[in-house]
């Protein structure tokens, strides 16, 4: 019984527009790029501009829509404050992200317009992930997103690293998808339900004693949890992330680093706090263990890294540890902390990648991307403003007070303390001390280490520097009005 109303279309307006636009863009690209008559023109630049335009329009469409709180498409998708907030954030951040990629793609001579098509598809998949309201919709959206990611990871077809990364990601991702499917089917098998709302009603009042199906349900929930944690690279399911970050081309790494976690975290929130809230209450130790392991592995892993992208991958894992720790309280304070953390993390990693992408050196006649952490030695002499912004970013990541990273950590730690997870809080503080060390070591390298060979930095492009300055302004000044973020998060949590 398919029952579709016009509200369903209205709620899905952004996605519909987005998909149609991408298809049009694809047709445009296929026709123009293969045109013998026009000499197989390179239309990467062209398509990137058009993609940005699509992002702008869809951001506009999302932000200007009335926020309907409804489930649409036979309750497969949900439209509420959370999905609205996450969608608009994803679109805004992707807009900024696309602007920092311009110059990189041009300088690296990435002439394949498909890059943009696939990225756009990944973005629309994220939009779907953030509003999925059914186990099936969730699975499909995640698969949609993952397939786009596999392609992106192996995008540099001529590079061994890139193909290796794509392959690893694909195999492991398929593995986790299998786990996800198994979990879904177990849940369906025991309850006969796939809808989040139905499941949450079904699980009301579940305790260990009064439910006979509980063991199988546990099994299913843990499987789904593992699959989701795999996607956001929480330890011990983080193994793919350093290799994929390292192997993929940097523009793709930046995509992986900035965007997908936002959608997935909202999905995890929906799943743990709404769908299986009553069951997960009995399973919160799994969250605690994963949070603890992520923090430990992320922190100690990052300490030993020498390359930028691996370093970022490990530091991401430790941030994910904090987010999971926020969720592990299973209270709204914790969820608030976690969502606040992911927003701040997204902002910070946007800044990080805009800086890392502008580490280009000139070796006449070409330019190359810097890959090692030690390349930034005495950066302050070459480009003091870039060095200064990196300092701000690193301080924010390390959680030094006026920067938003501090507030994020504080909210998570407060919620941990409120829920008596004191051991986890102590470990989190201890590990963030260690992480402080390696962030500040970079600052020390930039400012106080002297080198004899001085690299010649390629000037930063205008678009990248615009994004850099916007994110810097936000990072440095947001503490004056930190409730911008916190009110936003509160609004999102007002389900």
């Amino acid at each position: 019984m398919l029952f579709i109303s016009s509200y369903d279309f209205y709620a899905l307006l952004t996605e519909i527009y987005f998909l149609n636009a991408i298809c049009a863009l694809l047709i445009y690209g296929v026709i123009l790029n293969t045109s013998y008559r026009r000499g197989h023109p390179v239309i990467e630049h062209n398509v990137s501009g058009l993609s940005t335009q699509i992002l702008i329009v869809s951001l506009w469409l999302t932000v200007c829509s009335n926020i309907p709180c409804l489930t649409s498409w036979n309750s497969l998708l949900v439209h509420d404050f959370l999905s609205f907030g996450i969608k608009s954030t994803i679109l805004a951040i992707s807009l900024l992200w696309s602007l920092i990629i311009f110059s990189y793609n041009r300088l690296e001579k990435i002439n394949l317009y498909e890059y943009w098509i696939v990225s756009m598809l990944a973005i629309v998949a994220m939009l779907f992930v953030s509003c999925s309201y059914d186990l099936l919709a969730m699975y499909l959206a995640i698969e949609f997103q993952s397939i786009a990611f596999y392609i992106l990871a192996s995008f540099k077809r001529t590079s061994e690293f890139s193909t290796e990364a794509g392959l690893k990601y694909f195999v492991l991702g398929a593995f986790s998808s299998a786990l996800l499917l198994l979990g879904i089917s177990l849940l369906y098998g025991t309850t006969g339900l796939t809808n989040f709302g139905d499941l949450s009603k079904f699980f009301l009042g579940t305790t260990l004693e009064n439910a006979s199906f509980i063991n199988i349900t546990f099994f299913g929930v843990v499987l789904i949890e593992v699959a989701l944690f795999f996607k956001i690279s929480a330890a011990p399911f983080h193994m793919w992330s350093p290799d994929v970050y390292e192997g993929a081309p940097t523009n793709v790494t930046s995509f992986f680093g900035i965007l997908p976690k936002l959608a997935l975290v909202s999905l995890i929130f929906r799943f743990f706090y709404f769908c299986c809230a009553e069951v997960v209450l009995l399973l919160n130790f799994t969250l605690i263990i994963c949070a603890l392991l992520s923090m430990i592995i992320g922190t100690f892993g990052a300490l030993a890294q020498t390359k930028w992208k691996r370093f970022i991958a490990y530091s991401t894992i430790s941030h994910v540890g904090f987010i999971v720790a926020g969720f592990s309280t299973l209270e709204f304070n914790g969820a608030f902390g976690a969502l606040f953390y992911i927003l701040v993390y997204t902002l910070t990693s946007l800044a990080t990648f805009s800086i890392v992408l502008s580490f280009r050196c000139l070796a006449y006649p070409s330019t190359y991307q810097l890959r090692y952490l030690t390349d930034i030695v005495s950066l302050v002499k070459l480009n003091p403003i870039l060095a200064g912004s990196l300092v701000a970013v690193l301080f924010s990541m390390a959680g030094i007070p006026p920067f938003p990273g501090f507030f994020a950590k504080v909210f998570v730690l407060f919620s941990l303390l409120q829920e008596q997870l004191i051991g986890l809080a102590i470990m989190a503080i201890f590990l963030s001390c260690v992480s402080c060390f390696y962030y500040i070591r970079l600052i020390q390298m930039m400012y106080f280490t002297h080198t004899k060979t001085i690299l010649i930095f390629y000037p930063i492009e205008k678009t990248t520097s615009t994004i850099l300055s916007i994110t810097m302004l936000l990072l440095v000044l947001i503490f004056l009005k930190i409730d911008l973020i916190s009110n936003f998060v509160h609004c999102m949590l007002f389900l």
Binding site: K168, V171, L172, F175, S176, L179, L208, N215, F218, F219, V222, L223, E225, V226, F230, A235, P236, F237, M239, W240, P242, D243, L283, F285, T286, I289, I296, I297, F300, G301, L303, A304, L421, I422, G423, L424, I426, M427, V434, F437
Partner: protein, 669 residues
């Protein structure tokens, strides 16, 4: 005008200290001296207004610290006690400034010296004008700092460094006592303002503090803490060791700081806190015992010192003992009277000694002097006047206060006064008179009368000091003769209204009149004793016994003399029983074993090492093999699933704190 008294020295020190390089030696001399002389002028007016006309002045400037119940403001209190101190401080300070212009003539750092003298004056004025304990403590610490700077003025000399550090460290003990006292005052009264504390002290007589099972009256405790402060600053027995060593500083410094003003800060503190101290008879007893022991001890040690300045230093110590114990008998006004008189004649003695040292090209050993009366007649006259005043020769300044103190001790055994411990003070005070007179005349004979032992080179160059040195000497000599006579009736006259509410005197102690009715035999006693001392000094040094030194070979005498010239081994005792164990502990245990050892190993070094180890271990998991990655995913999944059924059981076993502990243990391992 009142604020100008405080501000002028500050301006002086800032200008000479920071601008000395530009205004030069003469400029800074002129500027600083002008500042202090103006201060004398204003202080005299203040003394007239407040002391003589009886109009106390109270200035509240601005809040300083305001935190919860603790409210401290910059406030200045000018009562008769303060103005008396002000007159003493500023007049001695200005004379010393004048003297230093000549004395430090050849020193390249003259502006710095002047600046230090000024800063000392500033802090001393701050100390006496404060209207609360904390501001007083600021001045207290400030004069300690100034004392350190001035003792260490010739900072290239090892002795000066040692003496300065010793002065600072020993004073720190007293300062610690004083700060504890202030804390206790705040604890008890909830305020540190004089007016609140003193006016409400009566209410708290029955309060007590329990500490380690002992219960002690709070006011007694406060009194003991304040006494410890006073002992440190006023060089009373126990913490007196820094004062003789402080003579390493330039002589004007000794005159200003270590004779006339700073060392009397302890006495000032006791007098200022008289309303508190009077309420606890135990503290009064302690003060009396300590003060009289100091007077006696310092006088006998002074007998066998050979350094001219050290003799005077011990005499200062001894006179401070007099002031303190008379306060302990609750005659604070007499203590203050002696303080004022002592400031004049002791400054005179020091400055004369400085003149001698100046004339003899920095020779300080009395055994290498002699016959200087001919070459330095004015200095000799000044020194003689100072010494007679010190010895309590009738109708000189010292006589009026010192004689009065001794007579007070004599009447203290009257049974109705209930201060029987005064007898102890009486005995020691009288014996001290003998020794005081002996060593001061010994100083005169050795320096001025006896045949010279000096080097020919020194004698050839000898000359009377220039006028800028002599003017302060003459002025001080005149004061040393007349001040006592002139101010006797103001300070300790029968029924004088001078002190007003500034000091509190026990009702039992309002019996100065008794002194006048003592048997005349006893009234003669101090004079007889001091004459005996003088005659003894004469006989031994220039008289009959000069060449007949058989008694000096007596075994017992030799031992006694030796131990006295070693200052009764106080330094030795402190060094071997306190200083060196503490140094051993500080270096070998707390520094080498704890700080550089255990804490370093567990802390910075250990943690950084283990973190590095751990991070390499964590990295090794990342093999790059797809199979391993899959294994880890499965392993993680399975362990999570396996934990599900046993978690309820494990939950009780695995305490989070235990986990953290294990983790840290792993780290340290």
């Amino acid at each position: 005008m009142y604020l100008l008294i405080i501000a002028l020295p500050l301006v002086g020190t800032l200008v000479t200290g920071l601008g000395g390089r530009w205004i030069g030696r003469k400029g800074s001399n002129l500027f600083s001296t002008t500042c202090v002389v103006l201060c004398v002028f204003f202080s005299s007016i203040a003394f007239f207004e407040v002391g003589l006309c009886g109009v106390p002045c109270y200035i509240s400037l601005s809040p300083w610290i305001s935190s919860g119940a603790l409210n401290i403001s910059w406030g200045f209190l000018f009562d008769s006690l303060t103005t008396t101190m002000l007159v003493v401080i500023t007049s001695i300070s200005s004379l010393v400034h004048l003297y230093s212009i000549q004395y430090m003539e050849h020193d390249p750092h003259c502006p710095r010296f002047m600046s230090f003298l000024e800063i000392f004056t500033f802090f001393m004025i701050l100390l006496v004008t404060a209207d609360n304990f904390v501001q007083m403590f600021l001045g207290w610490e400030g004069v300690g700092l100034a004392s350190y700077l001035l003792i260490n003025f010739w900072y290239t000399r090892l002795c000066a460094n040692q003496a300065a550090i010793k002065a600072l460290v020993v004073n720190r003990v007293g300062d610690f006592g004083l700060s504890l006292g202030i804390f206790t005052i705040f604890y008890l009264f909830g305020s540190v303002d004089y007016e609140i504390v003193f006016s409400s002290a009566n209410i708290y007589t029955n309060y007590s503090i329990s500490f380690c099972g002992f219960s002690i009256n709070t006011l007694t405790l406060i009194g003991i803490f304040l006494l410890i402060g006073a002992v440190g600053k006023s060089a009373q027995l126990g913490l007196h060791t820094w004062l003789p060593d402080a003579m390493e500083g330039p002589t004007p410094v000794s005159a200003l700081i270590h004779a006339a003003t700073m060392v009397t800060a302890g006495v000032f503190l006791i007098v200022r806190c008289s309303p508190l101290i009077d309420l606890s008879s135990d503290v009064l007893l302690l003060i009396t015992l300590l003060g009289s022991s100091t007077a006696f001890f310092a006088s006998i040690v002074g007998v066998f010192q050979n350094d001219i300045k050290r003799v005077i230093a011990y005499s200062t110590c001894s006179q401070l003992g007099y002031m303190v114990f008379v306060c302990g008998l609750s005659y604070y006004n007499v203590g203050m009277f002696h303080l004022v008189n002592h400031a004049f004649f002791k400054a005179l003695l020091f400055l004369s000694a400085g003149s001698v040292i100046h004339a003899l090209s920095n020779e300080q050993d009395m055994r290498r002097m002699g016959s200087l009366a001919n070459s330095l007649p004015i200095t000799y006259a000044a020194m003689l006047i100072g010494s007679l005043s010190l010895a309590g020769f009738p109708f000189l300044t010292g006589f009026y206060s010192k004689d009065l103190i001794i007579e007070i001790t004599q009447i203290s055994y009257y049974s109705n006064l209930q201060i029987s411990f005064g007898v102890y003070a009486c005995w020691l005070a009288n014996i001290s008179v003998l020794f005081t007179s002996f060593y001061t005349f010994r100083l005169i004979f050795l320096t001025f009368i006896k045949n010279t032992n000096s080097y020919r080179k020194h004698i050839e160059n000898i000359h009377e000091s220039p006028p800028l040195i002599l003017i302060p000497l003459i002025l001080l000599a005149i004061s040393s003769i007349f001040v006592g006579f002139l101010t006797k009736d103001i300070f300790v006259g029968i029924g004088t209204p001078f002190w007003g509410n500034a000091i509190n005197i026990l009702p039992t102690s309002c019996n100065l009149l008794e002194v006048e009715f003592m048997p005349s035999l006893i009234k003669w006693l101090p004079f007889v004793l001091s004459s005996m001392g003088a005659i003894l000094a004469y006989t031994i040094n220039v008289g009959v016994l000069k060449n007949n030194i058989q008694f000096a070979h007596n075994h017992l005498f030799r031992k006694l003399a030796f131990s006295l010239s070693k200052k009764l081994y106080w330094d030795k005792l402190y060094n071997s029983f306190i200083v060196s164990p503490l140094m051993y502990f500080g270096y070998n245990i707390s520094f080498k074993n704890l700080d550089r050892g255990f804490i370093e190993f567990v802390g910075p070094y250990g943690i950084s090492r283990t973190i590095k180890n751990w991070s390499t271990k964590v990295i090794k998991i990342q093999t790059g093999q797809l199979t391993h990655y899959t294994f880890f995913v499965i392993f993680g999944l399975c362990s999570l699933l396996l934990l599900v059924p046993v978690w309820d059981f494990l939950q009780f076993l695995v305490d989070v704190r235990l986990l953290v502990f294990c983790f840290i243990a792993l780290f340290v391992a």
